[in-house]
Subunit: 193 residues, 2 copies
DNA sequence: TGTACATCAGTGAACGCGCGTTCACTGATGTAC
DNA sequence: TGTACATCAGTGAACGCGCGTTCACTGATGTAC
């Protein structure tokens, strides 16, 4: 079977999307190539014409998932979402329940820290870019302090969401999220940081 | 070779300690039984007289590592360390570099969230107990708000340390840590949360 | 217009390897007689 | 006192399985003549 133009690029895109979900749901090391490919409706052998290795896939997935996350935040911003809205849409029961479709940092950070340097480099770039979008939501005029503040707020949101996900008691998880929202708003509004 | 009394308990303890390091360094799913046992100076077969399964090992490692972390914090507290000292000893380049010997939450949280409920239950208990020790360092008089505040501060510290570890640039990692210290102090001292 | 061939995305079996787990065995020591 | 035996922590080979990766092959289509 020969395919219409653009078919291979579409398949590649599809593998990336499925792999992104699998990595966030199961972890990078626990998600296998064969599993990803079969979830994408393909066989394991079809992976290597698209990607050089699993490591290369991880790099591409990270870059693309971080870019998606940033684009979603930019869209929210364009439709008038303020900082409090952004915080509440992150520290949120729906996000808590949807690890596979949620923030890659919350799902994968310790594993990212164990990746080879080129992978971590790509993460750093995607993170910086995302944080600058987040910083634009802050009241600060000085971009140096707004960067610091955005980083701290993001660190708080990531750690808080992870804690809420780890805890088996749903009521306690929700309390953790609520406390995180209050703390993030406090960080956002504090006169100096 | 027959062994002196207490030998088996000492071996078990040793396996727990080595496994704790391996899990934090490599991740739970990437650390294998054979690797842990050989790092402990034993062969793979010797594992099962000590533990029922890898899952049981994970449970025991979590309980014991969280208890250790709490005891260290209590000791610090007894020797006069204040909250700022505790925050600085967590968001610290030495802790950043020593994932294997550091905070299990920073090294493992997303993986803990993927564990079966009994494991997460044990994490929740160890976390609560640790957080109550951390809360005791806070100025609050009301224990309900000090618990909320301690949880938010811990979430911030965990997320911030993970971000700093993931980023390959050492200077940027240090800036992330410093921003985290400032934010954690702000959360600790804010009049209301 | 009809036919032979080139293209190439995807198939599926196989590679060596490490996983978690099981089990028959070893061998140094303490105990029983 | 000397010897036979029970104990049991640890050994190491083996189980079935899934891992990441390779590769000869398939087969539907576009192109050349």
């Amino acid at each position: 079977m020969r395919f219409e133009k653009g078919h291979k690029a579409a398949t590649r895109r599809h593998i990336l999307d499925v792999a992104s979900k699998c990595f966030r749901r199961d972890g990078v090391s626990a998600a296998g190539i064969a599993g990803i490919m079969s979830e994408a409706g393909l066989t394991n052998g079809a992976f290597y014409p698209h990607f050089e290795s699993k490591e290369a896939l991880v790099r591409e997935v990270l870059a693309s998932t971080l870019a998606d996350q940033q684009h979603r935040l930019e869209d929210d911003q364009r439709t008038g979402l303020d900082l409090e809205g952004a915080i509440r849409s992150y520290l949120n029961p729906a996000h808590l329940a949807d690890s596979a479709g949620g923030c890659p940092s919350a799902a994968l950070l310790p594993e990212i820290a164990r990746q080879p340097v080129p992978t971590r480099q790509i993460y750093e770039e995607g993170l910086q870019s995302y944080l600058s979008t987040l910083a634009a939501l802050l009241p600060d005029t000085d971009s140096a302090t707004s960067g610091r503040r955005a980083t701290a707020i993001f660190g708080l949101m990531v750690g808080t969401l992870q804690l809420a996900r780890a805890v088996p008691d749903a009521a306690q998880a929700e309390q953790i999220l609520e406390g995180g929202v209050a703390a993030a708003l406090l960080l956002a509004r504090a006169p100096s940081l």
